[in-house]
């Protein structure tokens, strides 16, 4: 019986030892893992800059008229998607499943995860972390806004409730089916998010890569502008400019530099960047656009460089990069939006003052002559022309064409290739780009 006792003791010691080990089952398998639950976790997710800030879609700009491709350059594009995109062909545009749609909604999902986790915070923690919620809302709204510019028709108050917008996903539940909201719902959501964010955000963020209050105002202004609500667009541009209104003086910059602008310069209110498509990168600047700059316009030499064959390439990215484009909010855009809204609302002097404020920093100082138009129509034309010349490859042109054509169908896009001309007439349904085929297939949503 002695042996049995020994055995029982052994067994007891052993089972105790094993029970003690159970706590190890709660250890994190990887030290860097976390279940998002703290304010630090949420800020860390929003600080994932290469997903949140550096992969905005350039598909609209690639479809627009700031550049052109020769037949040789077009055929030399390695990607068939880009060749099709350039001629507004609806087929074979998203061969790669990791595309701009994917990137956009990945960003939305990060923002949604942050918002969901924030909602579970204690009230005191909620109050402390309200800026984080504001940031997430700006990221989500800016993603939806860029998506609307690409995959939806121009805003028309009459048809907005029946026109198809993009899917508005507000949570991280991947089992929830995807549906396309209508254009009105989409813009309503964007405006709601931004207004809410503006009330939560700090006036100044620790870095322009994080959203701030003026950033939320900037996006509100941009959103209302795309909707053709010039009163509100002007109002929010003004709100933004009340907080941030510095401009770079282009007279101070080196026009010979390969990349004349520094990143995060004083005009940058909020940073967003787009990887350029190969088309934009290899393409030449539209000659009408280029010839629109006066000889004393510093933008002509700061934005563009001459190729060997007397064509021009873009070098003026605020990202200080030749294949990354600035997609964020800049004070120059805000001045131009406010000027446009003033002009449309017949506030001539205010509009001229904004133009002056901007252009005095853009034209060679000793040759600068102030605009003095007083005719509303002419002034609006001038403002729009300055808008086009200032905001080259800033992700705004495609949406601008759409809203301007809605007002007056006069911008016709043409591509000449191999002796053939492709044309995109105003308000063509192709102004809403096709949705990736795999999305259509899985979700059954309506294709554009």
């Amino acid at each position: 019986m002695k042996t049995e006792k020994k055995m029982i003791v052994c067994l007891m010691v052993f089972s105790l030892a094993i029970t003690g080990c159970k706590k190890y089952l709660e250890t994190k398998p990887d030290s860097r893992l976390a279940v998002p639950g703290t304010a630090e976790d949420l800020q860390a997710m929003l600080d994932t800059y290469y997903k949140m800030s550096e992969q905005e879609s350039a598909l609209g700009e690639t479809s627009a008229d700031n550049f052109y491709l020769t037949t040789e350059l077009w055929k030399g594009l390695a990607s068939e998607d880009e060749r099709n995109l350039y001629i507004w062909n609806k087929n074979v545009v998203f061969s790669n499943p990791v595309n701009d749609w994917y990137n956009l909604y990945e960003k939305v999902n990060y923002a949604n995860a942050v918002i969901e986790a924030y909602d579970k915070f204690e009230p005191s923690e909620k109050f402390r972390s309200r800026d984080i919620l504001g940031q997430a809302l700006v990221f989500r709204a800016s993603a939806f806004l860029n998506g609307m510019g690409i995959w939806a028709k121009a805003y028309d108050p009459v048809t907005a409730s029946s026109d198809l917008g993009i899917p508005i996903r507000l949570n991280t539940n991947f089992n929830e089916p995807t549906k396309r909201s209508n254009v009105q719902q989409c813009y309503d959501q964007i405006i709601d998010d931004l207004k809410r964010a503006a009330g939560l955000l700090n006036i100044k963020s620790s870095h322009v890569i994080r959203p701030s209050k003026p950033a939320a105002f900037g996006f509100l202004s941009r959103t209302y502008l795309f909707m053709g609500d010039y009163t509100m667009a002007g109002k929010y541009a003004d709100s933004c400019l009340q907080l941030r209104n510095d401009l770079l003086d282009y007279n101070e910059l080196d026009t010979l530099a390969a990349l004349p602008f520094s990143r995060f310069n004083t005009e940058v209110v909020f940073e967003l960047a787009s990887g350029s498509t190969t088309s934009i990168f290899v393409g030449n600047i539209d000659s009408t656009l280029y010839s629109g700059y006066s000889a004393y316009d510093l933008r002509r030499t700061l934005y563009f460089k001459k190729n060997t064959d007397n064509t021009y390439k873009y070098k003026g990215s605020y990202e200080s990069h030749n294949s990354m484009l600035f997609w964020g909010i800049g004070t120059d855009e805000m001045f131009l939006t406010r000027a446009e809204c003033f002009a449309r609302l017949n506030k001539i002097q205010e509009a001229l003052a904004d133009l002056h404020r901007l252009l005095s920093n853009r034209i060679v100082r000793k040759n600068y002559v102030e605009y003095s138009n007083t005719d509303q129509k002419e002034l609006l034309k001038t403002v729009l022309s300055e808008r086009r010349k200032e905001l080259v490859f800033r992700g705004l042109r495609w949406s601008d064409i759409k809203r301007l054509n809605k007002e007056k169908p006069e911008i016709i896009l043409r591509r000449k290739l191999d002796g053939r001309t492709y044309e995109l007439s105003p308000n063509d349904p192709r102004y809403a780009l096709p949705i990736p085929e795999n999305v259509i297939e899985i979700t059954g949503i309506t294709q554009n």
Partner: protein, 1062 residues
């Protein structure tokens, strides 16, 4: 679990009689004089009994008188010994093995060693003799040629993965669990000295493997090392060999010819393809394009250009590599071991030294040492301890084919590595004309010299591995023993990569960040000098096991049972660092600002100086309970059962969900022992049947969404975090149910012996990737329970002694058949293109094999354009967007067959005569298909990746009669390319037979050897990677090495060696 043990204890404890004399004895085996443990000694007409301990000792208390002792041990003939008590001396008894001709084969599961005879499960055992016919640094490389029931699956990687009885899971680890002696081996398998291995057991069915629980889903391989024995005289054995490895056959790669490549470049140049790159300084152009540019700029005459291009057309860079870079590799391997044992102590010491120099002059030096001893400490307590230490130093060698490219992603075929004057030829990673003047002489040389750059790179790693084992066994008596086992392993790898100041890498980084101002002052953002990368990684594991064994025989009943619990942890950590401006002599380095960007010298693009200061740490904990028993009645009927529960610290899973129980049961019947059995020519006949479950613990199963912290954002200087897992609570564990029926047989004198096994597999909730709506923002695929499957197979193992006289001929044949089919497919998307991928995935069609080869239907080439054609609704069609698009489903595809071999195995023949023996081992894989490579025009234009099929493309009407290679088009539509790539035109039969090795051994019986007491001496020569004997495809493709354009079969290796023992 504990209750079971108490019951066992209470049931079988026997009280001892104290008023008596003690009879002591020792039982050994007649065959080799080794002590026999577990021999049951019963006394006729008396209740007393005893069991021998591990030294063969037993004692039994009897009052004075005459007795008959009955000695019984499974696998041995019972022996009756008459004794008269009191007995003066220790009784020495020897037992004879029951089947004298059939060497008792034991299998090791890592928890116990059991005789194969007692096993109900399915095991393959490979002994030392079979393993020693091959020479390799890594022991597992030797399995394919000799083991039954396994195949090396090369559909995913060139190295391949060991696959036991078909693929079990496509998610999670695909390789089997490897056990070294008692515990899973966490270190690098290259740490194990092959000369130290005694045998390898492969556990194939659920009954065999279920003791390892969730980790056994892909099968289990148990490596047993050589052991010393008690009462063994000093034994020394020595082994030494040298292998020569031939240069790789670079011409096996089906690459486009220089002639054709230049033709394409000229065509592209004519069409303006390079126009955008000519304006960009960053992108280099190939020498031919550079000449075309210079010709157009009137800097090169047409004649000179043609002459130079004509010369380049004669170049094949593979010749350059073959001549200038690759040299014969030499591997040497030496091993020495000594062992000995007294009655209470045995020991073994071993050492091995390997020195390999590959065809690229890469060095590998490995020292393996080990010491193991076993002490019978005091009565009934045995302590076994062992210490193994491995050190492995590797150093990088030359840069082989594929290590660099210029102008395209792949190296152009007319590259010249050496100038006519013998100097190393330069390559440009930026535009050549620009580099020649850039920086006005103030930059470092910016050219790359592939032939000599390796001299400036000092890349090495040092691995140190310590493996410590402590094993306590306490024999409580009455058949009960308890054991505690502990293993500690620590593997450190220190990687150092020094790119010195003359290396291209260092020059390129320094130049890229150099700033030269208007006055010509040079500012180095990255200091001049070498770049030093350090990479420390550490694996630390502790494993503890407590186990109670019960082995008892009473009358016709025999019971072996074990139960226990196990705890294991495994901590991996890694730290990387980088230093710039490193001076190797002074050990000084420079400082770099990683927080801001600097413009690139050439493009002006702003970038951060690359840093690599990173740390990782993972820690895994496993907790398991296990139970295993085998009950035998009358030596004929055995019932076995096994169960195990595992838990790990999966993140975000409730503890209760972490336990996953798996079980199995089995039966065996030794028909040949029945009284009615009278087939004399077949003295062994045994039937076995098992049933059980294995599963895969899926590490990605997680109930909550988790994030993974990365580095600091360079902008905010705060850490950022990305999604790691998306909570997926609906996921279920994969389960595989296996039923195994087997027949073991052995003819008289074992002339023919072997086994025949039939198994059925049923997999439910198999995991597969389901296409996910990208709008969810949670990735492209979601892990889902995608399918159910049924499979069945046959494993036949036959050992035959064809001749057994002075001339001996032995044959070993392994033949396996494996077939499975999808029985249920749960995913909604059956779009054809989902199954047209290079990665292997579950076939989404009920009735087809789980891993099938499917293709677009092929209708030949269009006779007027050479376009590939398919079928749409039965009509020949060229609308590739539709043929490959969303409306094409799996039903529109041609089904060819299985993607993994359905018949496979190996055949070994050994002929011996007077100490000379010749062995030839063949392996074969049959009944499957693979997709071969061909020309992809887009890949050719943009990446310079060309297949030799280009030469046989359709060029003129009529060509479609003899070729199926589409015509050249520019630009090439992606859908047309994809259609051809996945069309029926490129499907080939994978069937092939390979000669694995040829081995010649000579064991001379020389008198001087006998005088030197050298008992075992042999010399051998071996040839491995001999090559294909037969292949079904007519295109000279080795199906095992066809995954991509640059896949290469291993080159032939010839080895010479000797083994001696005394």
């Amino acid at each position: 679990m504990r209750i079971t043990i108490y019951i066992l204890l209470i049931l079988f404890s026997v009280s001892l009689n104290a008023n008596s004399q003690t009879v002591r004895g020792r039982v050994t085996s007649k065959a080799d004089n080794l002590p026999l443990a577990g021999v049951l000694i019963t006394v006729k007409d008396n209740i007393n009994k005893s069991v021998t301990d591990s030294f063969g000792h037993f004692s039994i208390d009897l009052v004075e008188g005459d007795y008959s002792l009955v000695l019984h041990l499974l696998g041995y003939n019972d022996l009756i010994v008459n004794v008269k008590v009191p007995l003066k001396e220790t009784l020495e008894v020897q037992l004879a093995s029951r089947i004298m001709n059939l060497n008792e084969v034991t299998v090791s599961t890592g928890y116990q060693t059991l005789s194969k005879e007692r096993a109900t499960g399915s095991f393959t055992v490979i002994n030392r003799q079979q393993l020693e016919q091959q020479i390799s640094t890594n022991i597992l490389d030797r399995l394919e040629a000799v083991a039954g029931g396994l195949v090396i699956n090369k559909s995913q990687t060139d190295q391949g993965a060991i696959m036991i009885r078909g693929l079990s899971s496509i998610v999670g680890p695909k390789s089997p669990l490897v056990i070294l002696n008692n515990f899973p081996y966490e270190g690098d398998l290259g740490n194990i000295n092959p000369n130290d291995v005694e045998s390898i057991s492969i556990l194939k069915d659920a009954a065999a493997a279920s003791i390892w629980g969730t980790r056994a889903g892909n099968g289990v391989i148990v490596i047993t090392t050589k052991k010393a024995h008690y009462n063994q005289p000093l034994k020394v054995s020595l082994s030494s060999n040298v292998s020569l490895q031939g240069r790789p056959d670079l011409f096996y790669m089906p690459l486009i010819s220089s002639n054709d490549f230049i033709e394409v470049e000229k065509m592209l140049y004519g069409k303006g393809y390079y126009r955008s790159r000519i304006n960009t300084l960053g992108s280099p152009l190939s020498p031919v394009v550079e000449m075309l540019v210079r010709h157009d700029n009137n800097q090169l005459s047409a004649e000179e250009m043609e002459q130079r291009i004509g010369y380049l057309e004669t170049i094949d860079v593979r010749n350059e590599y073959d001549k200038l870079v690759y040299k014969t590799g030499i591997n040497t391997q030496h091993a020495l071991s000594m062992s000995g044992g007294s009655e209470y102590y045995n020991w073994r010491i071993m050492g091995g030294y390997d020195n390999n120099r590959t065809t690229l002059k890469e060095q590998m030096e490995r020292i393996t040492t080990g010491f193991e001893n076993s002490i019978h400490l005091f009565k009934n307590l045995t302590v076994i301890s062992s210490l193994r230490y491995t050190q492995q130093n590797t150093a990088m060698g030359k840069q082989g084919y594929g290590s660099f490219a210029s102008a395209y992603n792949e190296l152009y075929p007319y590259a010249i590595l050496q100038n006519p004057d013998g100097s190393s030829a330069p390559f440009y990673q930026y535009r050549q004309p620009y580099l020649e003047t850039a920086g006005g002489g103030k930059l470092l040389d910016w050219k790359y010299y592939p032939l000599e750059d390796y001299r400036n790179l000092d890349q090495k790693s040092r691995l140190q591995d310590i493996l410590l084992n402590l094993d306590l066994n306490y024999n409580v008596g009455n058949g009960i023993s308890i054991s505690a086992k502990y293993q500690y392993e620590n593997q450190n790898v220190e990687g150092t990569s020094l790119k010195d100041k003359n290396s291209y890498f260092a020059r390129d980084v320094v130049n890229s960040f150099t700033q030269i101002d208007k006055d010509g002052n040079v500012l180095y953002i990255v200091p001049k000098g070498g770049i030093l990368d350090k990479d420390y990684s550490r694996t630390n594991s502790n494993q503890i096991r407590g186990q109670i064994n019960f082995d008892q025989t009473f009358g016709d009943h025999e019971l072996h049972a074990l139960a226990g619990a196990e705890f294991r942890n495994n901590v991996n950590s890694r730290a990387l660092s980088k230093n710039y401006g490193f001076n190797d002599d002074l050990l000084t380095f420079g400082n770099v600002d990683f927080t801001r960007t600097y413009p690139n010298f050439i493009t002006g693009r702003n970038a951060f100086v690359p840093s690599s200061g990173t740390m990782y740490q993972t820690q895994l904990y496993y907790l398991s309970n296990f139970f295993n028993m085998a009950y035998t009645y009358k030596n004929r009927y055995t019932l076995s059962a096994s169960a195990r529960q595992d838990a790990t610290n999966l993140f975000g899973v409730n503890t209760n969900d972490k336990w996953n129980p798996l079980w199995s049961a089995g039966l065996s019947w030794q028909i040949s022992k029945e009284s009615f059995y009278n087939i004399n020519s077949l003295p062994l006949l045994k039937l076995r049947a098992t049933y059980g479950f294995s599963g895969n613990a899926d590490p990605s199963r997680s109930a909550v969404t988790t994030i993974l912290y990365g580095a600091n954002s360079p902008y905010t200087q705060t850490p950022y975090a990305t999604f790691s897992q998306f909570g997926n609570p609906e996921l279920k564990w994969e389960t595989i149910r296996t039923i195994n029926f087997a027949l073991d047989f052995g003819s008289k004198n074992s002339r023919i012996s072997g086994s025949l096994e039939y198994f059925k597999k049923k997999g439910t909730d198999l995991l597969g990737n389901s296409p996910l709506d990208p709008t969810t923002g949670s990735g492209l695929n979601l892990l889902k329970n995608a399918a159910s499957m049924k499979g069945n197979g046959v494993d036949i193992e036959i050992r035959a002694i064809n001749f057994n006289g002075r001339f001996k001929w032995l044959t070993n044949l392994n033949l396996s058949r494996y077939k499975d089919r999808v029985t249920d497919y749960y995913l909604s998307s059956i779009r054809a293109s989902n199954f047209m991928t290079s990665a292997i995935g579950i076939t989404g069609k009920v009735g087809l094999p789980v891993y099938s080869i499917l293709s677009y239907k092929w209708a030949g080439l269009d006779p007027s354009t050479g376009d590939p054609q398919g079928y749409l609704n039965g009509v020949v069609n060229k609308n590739y967007a539709t043929l490959t698009g969303a409306t094409a489903t799996i039903d529109d595809l041609t089904y060819w067959g299985s993607a993994i071999p359905t018949y496979y195995g190996n055949l070994g023949n050994t002929f011996s005569w007077q100490g000379l023996s010749l062995s030839i081992a063949l392996s074969y894989k049959l009944g499957y298909f693979f997709r071969r490579q061909s020309i992809e025009y887009n890949g050719l234009y943009t990446n310079g990746k060309g297949h030799k099929d280009f030469a046989e493309r359709w060029q003129n009407p009529g060509d479609e009669k003899w070729t199926s290679i589409p015509s050249l088009v520019y630009p090439a539509p992606t859908n047309r390319e994809n259609f051809y790539k996945y069309s029926g035109a490129l499907i080939e039969k994978g069937d092939h037979v390979r000669i694995q090795y040829i081995n010649i051994e000579y064991s001379p019986k020389l008198s001087f050897l006998a005088r030197l007491k050298i008992s075992d001496f042999n010399l051998y020569a071996n040839m491995s990677n001999v090559g294909l004997l037969w292949t079904a495809n007519k295109k000279n493709i080795d199906p095992d090495y066809s995954r991509n354009l640059t896949s290469l079969p291993p080159s032939k290796t010839i080895s010479l060696g000797l083994r001696a023992g005394f």
